[in-house]
C-alpha cells in the first residue's frame, strides 16, 4: 500500500463517518460537497471531513483508493458508500437513514 493510501486508510479508520470533500463542513467549496454535508447534517450524522483541496496527494489518491473518479466521497465504518449522486438518491429513497441507523452512526438526540 502506498504512503498516500496508508494515510487515506488512517483518515477513514479515524472516524465512523468520513467525508473527503472540497472545502470544510462549515465552508464547503463545491456544490456537490455542500449537498453531502447538508444531507448528513439533516440526518444528524456526525462526520469527519477531509479537505482534499489542502492535500493534492489525497485528492488524487482517494480516486484510486475507491476506484471512484470524483469528490466528495463518503465512507461509513470503513466502507465506501458513494459520492453526491448515490448519497442523494439513497437519501431520497430513505435508504441512507436506514444505513446510518444500522451502522450505529446516527447521533442520539
Amino acid at each position: 500500500m502506498t504512503d498516500t493510501a496508508t494515510r487515506i486508510k488512517a483518515e477513514i479508520d479515524s472516524s465512523p463517518v468520513t467525508v473527503f470533500m472540497k472545502g470544510t463542513a462549515v465552508f464547503p467549496q463545491c456544490g456537490f460537497s455542500a449537498r453531502v454535508v447538508q444531507i448528513l447534517s439533516h440526518l444528524n450524522v456526525p462526520f469527519k471531513s477531509v479537505n482534499v483541496l489542502e492535500d493534492a496527494e489525497i485528492r488524487e489518491g482517494i480516486k484510486a483508493y475507491s476506484n471512484w473518479p470524483t469528490i466528495p466521497q463518503v465512507y461509513v465504518n470503513g466502507e465506501f458508500v458513494g459520492g453526491c449522486d448515490i448519497v442523494s438518491e439513497m437519501f431520497q429513497e430513505g435508504e441512507l437513514q436506514k444505513l446510518m441507523e444500522d451502522q450505529g452512526v446516527t447521533a442520539k438526540v
Binding site: 456537490f32 471512484w68 473518479p69 470524483t70 458513494g82 438518491e89
Partner: protein, 77 residues
C-alpha cells in the same frame, strides 16, 4: 475542454451495448450533464458498482474533461 451529449452516449453504449441513455445538459456549457442509464448489465449490482461501470465506459473522462455528471442508473423493468 468539454464533451458533447452524444459523445457521452457513444462511450456508454460502446461499453454497454444494450444501454438506454437519457442525457440532460444542465448548464449548456458541455461540462455539467445529468444522465440516466438503464441496462441489464446492472441487474443485482449495488449502485456504486453500477456507477463505476458507467465511469469506466467514459475511460477516465469523468472528473476530467467532464466535470460533472449527475448519474442515476436502473435495470429494465
Amino acid at each position: 475542454m468539454a464533451m458533447q451529449a452524444d459523445e457521452i452516449t457513444g462511450f456508454i453504449k460502446s461499453a454497454l451495448p444494450d444501454a438506454e441513455v437519457i442525457i440532460k445538459d444542465l448548464a449548456g456549457d458541455g461540462d455539467h450533464y445529468a444522465a440516466h442509464v438503464t441496462s441489464e448489465a446492472f441487474r443485482g449490482l449495488p449502485r456504486v458498482r453500477q456507477h463505476q461501470m458507467v465511469y469506466a465506459a467514459l475511460q477516465g473522462r469523468m472528473g476530467g474533461v467532464l466535470h460533472a455528471l449527475a448519474l442515476t442508473t436502473a435495470t429494465p423493468e
